[in-house]
Structure formats: C-alpha cells, structure tokens
C-alpha cells in the first residue's frame, strides 16, 4: 500500500543511519529561523526535541498539559536507561543491544529503526552526562552499569532509583535555556484537542487553555507529537493519572495511521490494588527481580501468613517453569505466569490476586547491608504504602498496565502518514515490537529527541523554506476549532448522573479483563460490544459539572475518557485480528502444548496499521510487512 513507505535507507544495517544522514536534505541556518515547529509534549522525548530544534535555530512552540514541563510522566521512570557503551567489558555492542531489542520485541519491530536506536544510545548518554544528569557512579568515579530486565550484559545506566526524573530534569533544564533565549515559547497547561491539516500537510493544532478554557489556534510548518503513553486506558496502571491518548487520537482522526494498538505491556511487579478508591498503581522496579524470588503457596487457597508457609510448601513457579532464566524472564512472561497462578486459585493474600516477591534468600546470602544498599529506596517506598517491611516479610506484587508499544505509525524519519506530522517517544510505535525491554524507553526517547528527529525533520522542512508563516484565520483552523469547541460543549451538556471516573473504571475493567494479559476471540468480541454500549451510555448520562470557560478538571478527564472508548475499541479490534501470540499479546488460541506463546510468522509478521474511517465506522487495516535480513527469527524461549 502506497501509504506506508517506511523509507528505510539503502546499505548494510550498520551503515544505514550514516548513509541517511549523508543524504537527507539540509536546511541552511538562515532559513531555519523562518521555520516554525510545534512540539506537543515535553517529557524526555519532547523536551529533548524542542531544545535541540531550538539550538539548531528553528522557532519552536512547545506545549504540555502540566503546569510545568518538569512534571511529565518521564519523571517517574525508575530503573535506568540503556546504552551499548560496553563499559563493563562484558562483550556488549550496538549489535547485541539491537538483537536484544528485536528478540525482546518478539520480531515485530522494524530492524533498521531498532538498530539506529541502539547505535544512538551511546550519544544520548554522553549528552545527558554533559547536561548534568548525576548517574550513579562506581568508586572509580566512572558511571556504573547494571544488568536490567534479564539481559546478559550490564548496559543500564541509572541514577539511583530515579533515572527518569534525572534524565527528564536534564532535558528540562536544556529546554529552559532555550526558553530563556526566546528560541522556545513554552505553553504550559494546554491540552491539544485537534490537529489542523491544510492541503494534506500538518499545519497546526487547536489547544484548550486549561486555566481559562480559551480555545487557541497555533500554526507551524511542522508538528511533532511527543505525548507519551496511554496505559491509563486500564484506569489503574503504573502511569501518571493524567496520561492520555487525546493528541494521538486527534492525529489519527485526521488520517495518521495507528499501529499495533493491541500491544500493551503489563508490568509484573506493581503493588497490588489496596482499596476500591485507588486511583493509581505503584510500580516496584524490575531490578528487584535480580535478587527477589517469586512464589505462591503450593496449596490452593492457602491463606496462612507467608512465614508459616514452609520452603517445601512454596511454588517458585518461574524457577520451575523457566529454569534457564528463572525470576528474570521478560516482563510479559512473568506477568502471564503470575496471572495463571492467581486465576488457578494459588494467589497470595486475602484477595488471592498477588504473588510473593521474597528477599530472604538474598539477605541470607549477601547480608542485609548489601540488599539495603541496593534497594533501600524501593523497600522504604513499599513500606510507606503497605505498612509491611520487606526485610521481615515478602513483598506482594501483581501485574499492572505499564507501557504502550503501539502508537502512531512512523517511517524511518519518524514522520506519520500525514506529511509534516512527526511522532516521537512512547507516542509512536516504532522500536519495541510486541514487548519492550527494561530501560529501553528512556533510551528511545532521548535518541528520538536529541539526535534523530532534529536530522530527519530537516529533510521535510527543506521543502518548506518558501512557505510563509501560516495564518490561523483560515477555513481549516476554523473548522478544527469548531469541532473542539462543540465536543466540549456536548460533554457539559449531557448533564447526566454518572461521574466520568465511574465510566473510566468500567472501561478499564473491560480492557483489563478482556484485552489485558490474555485474550481470546470470544472475550474480545464481547469487549467490543460492551465498549460500544458503555460509550453510548457515557454520551447519554455522564455528568461533567462546571462550564467550559474555566479550570475544569472533570471536563479534562471527560475529554480523555471519551477518546479512550474509541481507542479501547481499536485495541480490541487489533488484538482480535492478530490471531497469533507474540510478546505481550497472548491469544489463548495460539499457544504451545505447554502453554507458551505461539508466534505465527508466516501470517503475522507485519505491523498492523489502522486507518480511521469516521466515528463509529470500521477501521481499515493496512500492513507493513516486516523483513528480517540481519537476524534469524527464532522462537523466544526462556526455558
């Protein structure tokens, strides 16, 4: 299909990016100052892109819904950021990082993009260090690296348990430097509601000022979306509660194809839900699995205190099922195994919806001091929330929605199917296939923002240097503004009885039960029907108090949830269509005799790219076939 030209450069894999850089069109410095770029989202990807584009001399307008760019969800990443530096001399290389990501993603990502992400990881680390990110260091004074997410080399840079915070603040400070110089105009507390497309090209956005409700028009020569993930569709997830899909969905409605929406990462080690009113789940870093052992009671429904359950009465199910990797199997495998045990009635705790993560063996072997040094922050956090000290009693954990591998389809230049519209960071689909490896997202976000987009966007903008600054008093802007305004007014006008949150919770429940860790045809079809009904009820009976002309948090939520119905539906559609199991997407109909995921390469080795056809209409499916020329597709086995 002509829509999907991935624009992968010629040449051998390792040379593609260099070849591309050598051949893309450039924009001369003088012309850059007459080109405007809109960047929506200022997390690690958006902040790094906005500041770098400004350094190059473009006029940047950046937007976020937060009160400050420093609060983007990137701030919450704990574990680390990968780079193929091979500082540990343990045989790591760009090629190995590439292979790990491709294999971890279960062969559903594009080789060339992944290789480039691995290649650029090194530059990103250099830049972040120079920008003042205080990565944890060894006694030698050089950056420390750990093994993370079950890979065999130590390539993860980290800043204690707050890597995301430190990387984001590094990018934020660079962004502020450009704001101070007047090269970036920062619009905080703005929600992007619509994309404006003029003659087939992305030319601007419509935003709502969240303080006074004003609807605003902004034009530019190109628009970049860096709006992060939307795992909040499950209602309870490890994401910050404001995370949403409104901007990418607005782009999708205007013609940007949406890829692999069904690929959702469920993280195995979150603190289980503690009460009915809980609005958010808290992640316990994956690094805990380096020393913690996961188990459930061997007897069904055994409600005894974990101390009373003797060693031989415990089932270390990951060690049992996956002797080679044990507790370090990838996230999707660990999550499914936990669900399997709990659903079979072996779960721990009153709810039966949790498993133990036990450090007693590690404490016994390595001593309390060593464990304390490694995990103090995390243990304290766990104790603060649950009242249980993991030194005395095993943690209880359960899987939770975490990361969206799917997102807007982009070509090698990170451009969507709408010319002039780019998508970077978690908002695009590009690097992680059907499952993301730990510490791989920050790596991608920094690479996209600092080093890839600033090059590739030039290739597009070189064709725009003659385009004068766009007026916003055109028909297209007017139409987009009207659509945004009408939607808001409609939401308030329903004036029903049920809260926005009550709808979000119900939708989350449908998604979690039927389009979560395990899927099957019957449930997916049922879910699609239920979502449709819930959406109808929402538009009939939701209650959004207040008006559109003021700070109105319920209205903000309502906008997000309204889009979640449509996205949720598409997630189910995608999951239904993909009749194989791969990565995080597990179809019960496609499993091996011992219950492992069964990939079907002959039929499904493609990126599913969904095309919007109108509200309530069926999406069209386009396919980008994936070709693997540099790796052999193997069965992912952790036995």
């Amino acid at each position: 299909m002509s829509k999907l030209q991935s624009k992968i450069p010629e040449g051998i894999l390792a040379d593609k990016w260099q070849n591309h850089k050598d051949s893309v069109k450039l924009v001369n410095p003088v012309s850059r100052s007459s080109l405007d770029i809109i960047v929506v989202g200022t997390g690690l990807s958006g902040a790094s892109a906005a500041s770098t584009l400004a350094e190059l001399g473009y006029n940047v307008k950046a937007f976020c819904f937060h009160d400050s760019p420093r609060r983007a969800h990137s701030v919450a990443a704990q574990g680390g950021i990968n780079a193929a530096k091979n500082y540990k001399n343990d045989g790591d290389s760009v090629y190995r990082l590439f292979i790990d990501i491709i294999k971890g993603g279960d062969y559903r990502a594009r080789e060339a993009n992944v290789y480039r992400a691995a290649e650029i990881s090194n530059q990103s680390i250099d830049h972040l260090v120079a920008a003042g990110v205080p990565f944890t260091r060894e006694y030698s004074g050089y950056p420390d690296n750990i093994s993370f997410g079950g890979v065999q080399v130590s390539r993860t840079f980290y800043a204690q348990g707050q890597t995301g915070q430190q990387c984001l603040l590094g990018a934020y400070s660079g962004l502020n430097r450009q704001i101070a110089q007047g090269r970036v105009i920062m619009y905080n507390r703005r929600d992007m509601l619509e994309l404006v497309v003029v003659d087939g090209q992305a030319r601007g956005i419509i935003t709502r000022n969240l303080v006074n409700g004003e609807i605003e028009r902004h034009s530019a020569h190109a628009v970049v979306l860096a709006t992060g993930g939307y795992g909040t569709i499950y209602y309870l997830s490890t994401l910050a509660v404001g995370s949403n899909a409104t901007a990418v969905w607005a782009a999708h409605r205007k013609g940007a194809l949406f890829s692999n929406p069904g690929f959702m990462q469920i993280h195995p080690t979150s603190i289980p839900q503690l009460n009915e009113y809980q609005g958010k789940l808290i992640l316990m870093s994956e690094s805990l699995r380096n020393d913690g052992r996961i188990w459930v009671p061997r007897t069904k429904g055994d409600k005894r205190h974990p101390d009373e359950i003797k060693e031989e009465e415990r089932d270390y199910y990951l060690e049992r099922r996956y002797p080679a990797f044990g507790n370090l199997v990838p996230r999707d495998v660990a999550s499914r195994a936990a669900k399997e045990r709990c659903d079979a009635g072996y779960g721990a705790g009153d709810s039966g919806q949790s498993v133990y993560l036990d450090f007693s063996k590690a404490i016994e072997k390595q001593g309390r001091k060593v464990i304390e040094k490694k995990y103090r922050n995390l243990f304290e956090m766990y104790e603060k929330i649950t009242g249980v000290n993991p030194f005395n009693e095993p943690m209880r954990i359960y899987p939770a929605g975490h990361y969206t591998m799917g997102g807007l389809w982009v070509d090698y230049n990170l451009m969507t199917t709408i010319p002039g519209l780019f998508a970077i960071g978690e908002s695009n689909f590009s690097d992680h296939g059907a499952n993301r490896l730990g510490a791989g997202s920050l790596m991608q976000c920094a690479g996209d923002g600092y080093f890839i987009l600033p090059v590739t966007i030039g290739d597009y903008l070189a064709g725009e240097i003659k385009t004068p600054r766009l007026h916003t008093d055109t028909r297209e802007f007017e139409k987009a503004e009207k659509a945004a305004r009408e939607k808001l007014l409609r939401l308030v006008a329903v004036n029903g009885r049920q809260t926005v949150t009550s709808f979000h919770k119900r939708l989350g429940r449908i998604m979690w039960d039927m389009c979560g860790m395990v899927r099957n045809e019957e449930n997916l079809k049922k879910a699609m029907k239920m979502i449709k009904e819930l959406k109808e009820m929402f538009w009939r009976d939701v209650r959004v108090p207040g008006t559109v002309n003021e700070l109105n948090q319920e209205l903000e939520k309502a906008v997000k949830v309204a889009d979640f119905f449509d996205l949720g539906f598409l997630m189910c559609q995608d999951a239904l269509d993909r009749k194989e199991s791969c990565g995080a997407h597990f179809r019960e109909e496609s499993q091996t005799s011992d219950g492992e995921a069964q990939r079907i390469d002959s039929d499904f080795s493609y990126v599913a790219c969904w095309e919007y056809r109108g509200d309530g209409e069926k999406h069209d499916l386009n396919k980008e076939e994936l070709r693997f020329e540099n790796v052999k597709m193997q069965k992912r086995s952790y036995k």
């Binding site: 919450a76 006074n212 949150t501």
Partner: protein, 260 residues
Amino acid sequence: MFMDFLDWTQLFNMEINLRIWRQKDADNQGGFVDYYLRNVAEEMSFLEMLDFLNRTLIENGDEPVAFEHDCREGICGSCSMYINGRPNGPVDNVTTCELRMTSFRNGDSIVIEPWRAKSFPVIKDLVVDRSAFDKIIQAGGFISVNAGTAPGANSISISKRISEEAFDAAECIGCGACVAACKNSSAMLFVSAKVSHLALLPQGQSEARNRARSMVEKMEELGFGSCSNTGACEIECPRGISLTHIARLNREFLKDSLKS
C-alpha cells in the same frame, strides 16, 4: 486486582470533618467550606479521600474541589496542599500524595488550603501557579551544552561522594513546599538545590558563580522573600533537601561578589 475479592464495607469506618479552601478563580476571593465525610477507609491515601469527596460532591450536583496531582507516587511534584497548618500535612518529608489516612483518626477535623505565597497565586481552590519556579530555572539552572558537543560519558571521573551529593540536591521535585513552609516565602531551598547540584559537578562549574547570582536575583525579582535560616523548609521538604545546599549557594554567591 479489582475490588470484588474483598469485603470493603468492613474497612470504611472513618468519619472526618473537612474544611477546604474554595476559590472560583484568581479574580474572586475565596473562603473555607465545611464538608462532613463518612465511610472513609483508613487504607485510602489522602488524595483518594479527596477523590471520594469529589465523587460525592459531583453526584450531589456540586462542584468538585480542584487540586493538582499526577504521578501519585511522590516524584512529579504536582500535589501541593497545606494541611492542618503544614505543607503536606502532619508527616515530615512526604508529598501530599504519599500521605495516607492512617495518619488521621476517626472524627478528626482536617483543614486544607492551597500553598500560600505571593509568588504562587491561587488559580482555583487548591491549585496554585508555580510557574515562577520555571522562571528561576530559566535564569541559569542549566549547563550550556548543545546536543552533539558532549565528550564521552566516562571522559571525566567524578568521585562517588560528590556525585551522590549532587544527586541528593538534584532530587528536588519543584513542589514548592519549602516556600509554603517559610514565613518569608523564600525559595532559597529550591534555588540552592539546583545551584548545588550543578556546582558540584565538574560539567557545571564554569557557569557556577554566574548561575547562583542570576538565579537568586530572579528569585527576588519574582517576589519570593529572603532566607533567614529558620530551617522550616528542610523539615517539610518531601525530598529531604538539606540546608547545607543553602550554605553552598551562599559560598558561590560570595565568590561571585568578591570577583566583581
């Protein structure tokens, strides 16, 4: 992971009296409104208790209380409430989202206000405008390095002790509790955390003196008070940012004024 498995009714046993600051917008005067809330569970976090209040308000046709929050795990710095006369409530060194109802007792009265500081004007109810913090960072809270110019990440060795100290300062979440705690509404702890973080690292040293001066000047220009070393900020700071950073800032400042 969902609620059906537990008998929640046993747990919802608290009743509390809330007195909350309500203000329509920056142009209108605000005032306290009292709410009596039943069936609060000890297991709730403080913000979940407010979610619960808001649900009740909406279902009764009232306007919910506006408050800021996002990560709900103490790292984004969004949440910000003055609870019973203290930033983030009765527990030392936590954010409001980390506060739990176990810190309160059945029948308690809880007064909730927004941050109070001239430089943080109220936008609505408990939401204040903290953009002054961004402006302070814009005055110099960065290292002037463009993407692409950096040397290798291991080209400089930084002792573990120094890098840990820099990290401790860099942990600031920009919440503003220090300002809310200070009788002068000074932002000195916030400013010193950034100055210290960057001054400790070799990468940040060439701009260190200038940075300290411009950031402090900006702070004063934005209407924050000056520091009189009472230390209230350190007690309330959810990230435990230490007063020693203020001392370091003063040293940088002194070095700069001696030079000029």
